[in-house]
Subunit: 346 residues, 4 copies
């Protein structure tokens, strides 16, 4: 396994859907970094389920506990750090945050182990880990693991802001519609059919100065892509005008340089703020494709691994008919982790 | 800089467009790996310019010299290894390969240094490296650096074949057309206009067994994307049906499992052979967007960095009106490096 | 910070002396690895204080809680994993283990922050982290952090045994004596003086097959040394006959090859089982120097950082007059982590 | 293989004793770094053989050729960079340097392949790489590979000096003598016996500011040790008073803090400038044990791998009776690489 990301800031995620806890260790935060815990909770709440009829009604208690890496932020009081405090100050040691799982391996997963859910990791994990794999709730592959991702990303968002950098995602497509007013209807229609639907999220990172990143394999695109594909269900990423650039002429796609108030900038931003792997000073813009939730009530074909024969499957439980709304903040989190790792390393 | 890729096989690329040489060091090849040098040359020739009227007429002498890491492959003769031999056998030490540059910093690059070419890395590199940057021919950002990438990738392709794995790219779009019969016309039309055009390449990796890769940040998608964005001009990557999945319902996008001749497989491959970061046993399929060559004869706006004012620029020299045909083999090379790195590490 | 070790098995340690908890994440354990929790507790107990008059009488509740990465080991029962179970089975996901700190930041550390303890990390950490540093109990630099090191090492010891490899430390010197019968007296004499004493530990790794490790920077010596210096108070490491080899002739120091029962071996093991960074098949043998505990009751000179003037300091509290006995198991733990990382990666 | 070192500055060494060339790639040098090539040659010459009757009379043509990563250093002239120029300026791209081997695989190594030399890597490499191993001259394990190590280290020494840091080695023991006046006699006596002798080198890094390095596994001791053991024949390393600290009381070994001209310093430097992995501002001091050259003319026992029986061996050729004098500069090189990697990363 390698659920670790980063060079100058190492982010190590752990946990399974039904383990005692899930969490993350961040190694490399600058000593003195002030973390606003209320803001962090608000950031994570954007990901939490149970808040809308377009998401699963399942509730998760996602209260973060900080195990180490901080001292209370009010400037020196030497009492125990708990989440009652509003601010915590990174002390230079690795920051460890955990979220308890309240729903731990109580169900019966015998059928799940035998009949892999289509387009889930069940079968691939079975081949990789054999019967040792923790199948309960999807184990380490569960979307629940995006909670510690958001915890880490939320911290990075706060630090990036002190560098003048903001990260913001926006849903630009749900199913076949690009009209925000129809997003909810599209999701509810899929839900009514016992089905699910995908979408596209656009993320913009503003305020990144020119000259960040490296050529070739450590370019900004490489780093952001490597982080973003850590989110389950992402199947594509494009920077700037992305796949649309294929149809363009160079004269249409090139971003011409212009002087603006004494500063070098470009009239357009088809490159999405990255040239040769290095930031140009324009906003970093990328879009990601989110596949429709693979868990659907509709009956699907699958196989019984024990009997080696075809069978049918209807995924029970309360699933998101569309994970795009909850994934938007995960995209911000992953982008913030990748961008801050580069900022931190320069 | 960080022109290094890989965990179990480290690939370190070096060189600038006009440095004495460009090259690559591969650290981690299994001792005894037999390298067919004729096949490697043929692989690299697919990338070489000067072979078609759709590419730059510029010639490059791309003869590889192996500096270290091999003994002659004919089973023990202890003479010096040169490229006259047809086979070389990796001895376990790092394999170093170089390609001499014949055109080394002879021109006048004063203007290039002052007026950055739109959608090239010139300006970003200027901010990052200042006047120390080797601007000649694009320096380390030059497409010429894909030659050592192909050398390393060509070696990986040969090893992967011994594991039953093949890697193959195909051009699926040039400009606005997806009809292969019209690709050449599309390129020549752009060329006639002093312009350039982009396209889309699809790459298929066949024969990868199920269970390879890791969850989260070391998934197959993350690794392949991190390698692929090392190729200049790539602006997007999608796996399986990629961005198209956004418009689909789960019931349409899911790959249902079926038994086929006693083997678990899927009826469709919308996931592109990867689920939860781990291979499913189906072919890995991905597509990449290649932007139109930024170097065009058409006049474009740019700025004079020294004078801080707007100016105009026409990029002189012999440039590819479309780099997609030459980039196809680079995509194979990068994919082979990423996939073999995972295969090697398991 | 970078409290992470390993390539194929990543070990990330976190915590401070007085944070809510300390712990470790191990990413890369093979799925199906069976962990005997009683044995792990016994391994860790060898490090625990409060067990002898040669160690600090301070008690630590070092009960490990496994947060993730396992399923109960009795072959499939899907109930919550707790430390009540005797075996746990690694499921392939990162293994997270934590130990609660019961003594969290209750004291008054104002003086400690102002007057750095000689030969502790206080001053270096003050320069590095400023006032953000968590000074309480030494923070992340505390010897308490060897508890999670031992937790990780204890798991590696168990896995190595399934590969036929054993790791065993032995105290070979305490203060000026190399006579085991006098070790206790030497420590008690130092204790009676309000002082402390150092020593030397020898570690032997038996059963490692020939051919493991890499030349140059990833050699076995490099890897073991990089892990061992992660233990506070280690100031030297030597392999085989180590520093003694400096005084020898080649004809004395060389390990001549001989055939023994049809197997290639050597008559002596002056190399400590490692040649050119690679294991020779002989036992890996190394010794480490452990400095005397820097915390002593005796008055020492130090400075007041706030007043910029000389002062005196007597380190209060209950300290180990000699940490060598408790460090022996830490050396095994670090060696096991380093050796298993190499074994796992081959 | 993994002949790569470093985090912020990656140093990748390649080559075998008899390959076409040996060399090094340095990825991460700051753009604009000025390299004095005459000084670099002088640095490397300290390692070159054939200069004294205490070293092998074998001559090596060690002229460095820079393949990439620089532009000529005289401030902008855009002509080809060759080693005729006296200064080169790093351009930000990876610096590749090669040294041609003139003596390439011309001999007969059949016997060497069959009868491993005692205390060389021959046998370990045979087990690891099988017959694919390049045995000629020791292949990748040859001491000749310290030439590119010195090339990389020589560059780091130059950069460190601009940070006020100097690195200097000194021989403190040869065989049984610590009297510099008798070092030469000790070596010549071993030579006269067809034997060899070891020694101890002390290295001091002056001018490193306090606060560099990280706790635990990325401490200064860990990093320096990991680099130093990359030099063949090093069997031990100790920092400060090292193994001697084992015999001391805490009150003797502790470095008491004192104010000196308004600056915090210590009266002694038993810690060798490193506390908790972090620099204290005092000089970094360490000693390394160098084993006697394993190649000796004296007959030794060995085995025939093909026949599986005992045999005798006298290592022919012209070998160093003591490599300590030539190793001193290698220790400086490895230390400079390790220290600069940390300085660069802060």
């Amino acid at each position: 396994m390698a659920s670790m990301f980063g060079k100058s800031l190492k982010v190590q995620i752990f946990g399974q859907s039904h383990s005692a806890a899930i969490g993350v260790v961040m190694d490399g935060l600058p000593a003195g970094t002030l973390i606003d815990l209320d803001e962090l909770r608000a950031f994570m709440k954007r990901r939490a389920p149970g808040q809308s009829d377009t998401a699963t009604p399942r509730k998760e208690a996602d209260e973060i506990e900080i195990l180490s890496g901080v001292v209370p932020g009010e400037g020196g009081a030497e009492q125990a750090c708990t989440c009652d405090v509003k601010h915590a100050s990174a002390c230079g040691a690795p920051l460890a945050m955990v979220i308890r799982n309240t729903n731990t391996r109580s169900g019966d997963y015998a059928e799940l182990r035998d009949v892999p859910r289509p387009s889930h990791a069940d079968y691939a994990a079975y081949v990789k880990y054999g019967t040792a794999h923790d199948i309960a709730g999807g184990g380490h592959f569960s979307g629940r693991l995006t909670a510690p991702l958001c915890a880490a990303g939320g911290v990075c968002v706060q630090i990036l802001r002190t560098h003048g950098v903001t990260v913001r995602s926006e849903i630009v497509q749900i199913g076949t519609t690009t009209d925000p007013e129809r997003f909810r209807a599209e999701i509810l229609a899929a839900k009514a059919d016992g089905d699910s639907v995908g979408g596209i999220i656009e993320c913009t990172v503003n305020g990144v100065r020119a000259g960040l990143g490296e050529p070739m394999f450590e370019g900004m695109e490489n780093r952001i892509a490597a982080a973003i594909f850590g989110i389950p269900a992402i199947k594509g990423i494009e920077f700037g005008n992305g796949f649309a650039c294929a149809s363009l002429r160079g004269s249409q796609n090139n971003d011409e340089f212009i002087m603006q108030n004494g500063i070098v900038t470009t009239a357009t931003n088809n490159a999405g703020g990255i040239l040769g792997g290095i930031t140009s000073g324009l906003p970093i813009v990328f879009r990601v494709a989110v596949k429709p939730t693979p868990s659907i009530a509709k009956e699907q074909r699958s196989v019984s691994l024990s009997r080696g024969e075809n069978t049918a499957l209807s995924v029970r439980g309360r699933h998101d008919p569309c994970i795009v709304p909850r994934a938007a903040v995960c995209v911000e989190a992953a982008a913030a982790i990748a961008v801050y790792d580069v900022v931190r390393g320069e």
